[in-house]
């Protein structure tokens, strides 16, 4: 029993953080939102160099084997920096394709060269994806996206309806649960960054002659956000550890409920603590606040996952 990230995991998280701190993700997010994917793809390429996309690809296809703890660690970091693109979907697709024995795309996924999307039910970033997949009635299909963009609350999430074209085979449930878990970890990272931004802001923004962080009403909002986030993290880690066991569906649902609700509540707290400035599209917190609403309901809303959870108990 040692239920904390190892030193190795912490170093991996720190190196990702350092890379993304230098990558100017807010500019890449804004470019991505307007259809210019070049800066975002450069981030994907540098992420691939750290091995992020190899974490769901078997070793014989240039990956590192499926490493769930490393995956949630990475996804948390990518959420903290609001990295754009079909991250969850590419990881889940690697796992789905591996289960199907369809190895064509795996080396390119591991290398960060292939962006794969997986409709849930809208295909995220299908306009830039190298491969578009969808799951219908338990079967995986290749799919063709519609031309029309379905605008999301998070403009960096470019969503498209899809039409299935070619059946690839049965969908591996565990890969879909892995998507749920990756999304939970990403969302937790989004929430963590929103809390950090809010704490920093509360220390410097002054009203009535004092930093607003001195006021108990503000303090208590931020304390509540920390409690929510801190008690969601162990559920995300435990779900990663139960990958490959019969508890995985239960644990991924628990992780998604806790992480998404914590992050979403933190987003509302961030908006309130920042005040009007965070209600503007121009100011950076809006990028995380908008993503936080979208991630709440993608890959299963809390309501959906509560129904799943209770059925597994």
């Amino acid at each position: 029993m040692r239920f904390v990230l190892s030193e190795e995991h912490r170093l991996f998280a720190a190196s990702l953080d350092k890379l993304l701190d230098q990558a100017d993700t807010p500019s890449a997010i804004r470019a991505w939102s307007s259809g210019d994917h070049a800066p975002g793809r450069r981030i994907w390429t540098s992420l691939a160099e750290t091995g992020v996309f190899a974490l769901a690809v078997p070793e014989e296809h240039d990956g590192m084997g499926l490493l769930p703890v490393e995956l949630v660690t990475a996804m948390h970091g990518l959420g903290r920096h609001a990295v754009p693109g079909p991250l969850v979907e590419t990881i889940a697709a690697a796992s789905l394709l591996t289960a199907l024995g369809d190895t064509r795309w795996l080396p390119r996924i591991a290398a960060g060269e292939a962006l794969v999307t997986l409709a849930a039910p809208y295909a995220l970033d299908a306009d830039v994806a190298d491969l578009v997949l969808t799951v219908q009635d338990g079967e995986v299909y290749e799919a063709t996206p519609a031309r029309a963009l379905r605008p999301s609350i998070d403009p960096s999430r470019r969503l498209y309806e899809v039409t299935p074209t070619r059946k690839l085979g049965p969908a591996d449930d565990s890969s879909l649960h892995l998507a749920t878990l990756a999304c939970a970890a990403q969302h937790l990272g989004v929430g963590r960054r929103l809390l950090e931004l809010s704490v920093d802001y509360a220390k410097t923004r002054s009203q009535y002659g004092h930093p607003i962080g001195e006021y108990q009403a503000v303090k208590h909002h931020l304390a509540n956000a920390l409690i929510d986030l801190e008690f969601a993290r162990p559920l995300v880690h435990a779900a990663a550890l139960s990958h490959g066991t019969s508890d995985f569906p239960r644990d991924t649902s628990a992780a998604k409920i806790a992480a998404s609700e914590a992050a979403y509540r933190t987003a509302k707290t961030a908006l309130q603590v920042h005040g009007a400035i965070a209600y503007t599209a121009e100011y950076a917190p809006s990028l995380w606040i908008r993503k936080s609403r979208a991630l709440l309901t993608t890959w299963g809303s809390p309501t959906t996952h509560r129904a799943t959870l209770i059925n597994t108990l």
């Binding site: 239920f3 001195e214 108990q216 303090k219 304390a223 409690i227 008690f231 162990p234 559920l235 509560r306």
Partner: protein, 376 residues
């Protein structure tokens, strides 16, 4: 990173389970907040103590089993899963004992701890005063120098278990010139000492779960001062951390309660009531989160410090939510006397005692998040 129990831990769990199976009373004991129930819970503490299960994490020389923090968590899981009685010894075991281990003399440890482990001496806490609740440093009860010891005077209140306990511990102002956190001394005293008047207070449901203590020249020998005179605040704060961390409400308590709630839901609930279903799912989820948080806490190598306040807010609010869900599920039976109602009334005190949740949130904001301290 793993959540695996070693064979030795599994063996420890099996031993605990077997012992509990053989010893837990078949019928629930009467409420420990009544005279009859308190006596029954004392007897149970002696049963636990006889086999060194009252204080598993203490060293063997004081009546424990030298259990590691993980073994203690396992013990607690099994204890509550077995439906074993509430712990009337809690103030002594979880609040006073950690303070003694940190600040007591070896003579005090040898004298005080073994009878506590055997369930022979039950302790009450004596922190709050009429004018010192959340703001404990405003306390005014005094300890005045006397030949070979101290004379205590003043009034304590909300003293849990004091209606029926044997001994109490608390802070007293020993330097009349001092203010706030300075000049306080941590003392232990018998509740039947000359000069002590105990007036039980009925809690919300009328049961005498706590008491007022009136102290009139109560003599306490020097040997019953913990730490140095005047250092009481520092000494007491080591207890406060324990009170807010895992020990006061172990995760096992909640995992067992969540399992019982799930069973109640299966037995009684209308399956089409999805709102209630979601609250049951949440109770299971939160119990699991707290359990995992416990494993995370004991796996850390650093001191959790002020982060213990996160736990206190979490478990106290969760405890109420869990019991409210059960009472709502019971419908018209929810107002009737029973285990769920007893647990609910007990839970309602959680956000108030051991430092109100408002104070805990200030602590979290200032000491964990680093927000500036401001006017209260």
């Amino acid at each position: 990173m793993d959540l695996d129990f070693s064979p030795a831990h599994e063996a420890f769990r099996a031993d605990v389970r077997d012992w509990l199976h053989a010893h837990v009373p078949a019928e629930p004991l009467p409420s420990l907040e009544t005279a009859e129930g308190f006596a029954a819970h004392r007897t149970w503490e002696r049963t636990l103590g006889a086999d060194r299960y009252a204080t598993v994490n203490w060293p063997a020389e004081f009546g424990g089993r030298g259990a590691t923090p993980l073994e203690w968590l396992i013990f607690e899981e099994e204890y509550y899963a077995a439906g074993a009685p509430g712990r009337v010894s809690q103030n002594g075991v979880n609040l006073l004992a950690p303070t003694l281990f940190a600040h007591g003399t070896s003579e005090q440890l040898r004298r005080v701890l073994p009878p506590m482990a055997r369930g022979e001496v039950i302790w009450a806490q004596a922190w709050s005063e009429p004018g010192a609740g959340s703001d404990l440093a405003a306390l005014r009860s005094t300890a005045t120098r006397a030949d070979g010891g101290w004379l205590l005077n003043g009034q304590k209140t909300w003293s849990s278990r004091a209606a029926f306990a044997d001994m109490a511990f608390g802070l007293f102002r020993s330097d009349p010139e001092s203010a706030r956190h300075r000049g306080l001394t941590y003392l232990m005293f018998p509740l039947d000492a000359p000069g002590v008047t105990v007036r039980p207070i009925g809690r919300l449901d009328g049961k005498p779960a706590f008491a007022e203590l009136f102290l009139d020249d109560v003599f306490v020998p020097d040997g019953d001062v913990i730490g140095a005179p005047g250092d009481g605040w520092k000494v007491a704060m080591s207890t406060a951390g324990n009170e807010r961390g895992l020990t006061l409400r172990s995760p096992g308590r909640y995992t067992a309660a969540a399992d019982r709630l799930l069973a109640l839901w299966r037995d009684r609930a209308d399956p089409s009531d999805t709102a209630l279903r979601d609250r049951v799912a949440d109770a299971w989820l939160k119990a699991r989160a707290y359990r995992l948080k416990g494993f995370e806490t004991i796996s850390r190598t650093d001191d959790i410090g002020a982060e213990s306040s996160l736990n206190k807010v979490f478990w106290s609010e969760f405890d109420i939510a869990l019991h409210e869900t059960a009472l709502d599920l019971l419908g018209p039976d929810g107002e009737l006397d029973g285990d769920w109602l007893e647990g609910y009334v007990f839970a309602l005190a959680g956000p108030i005692y051991a430092g109100t949740n408002e104070i805990q949130r200030n602590v979290i904001a200032e000491r964990v998040l680093g927000l500036p301290r401001g006017a209260r």
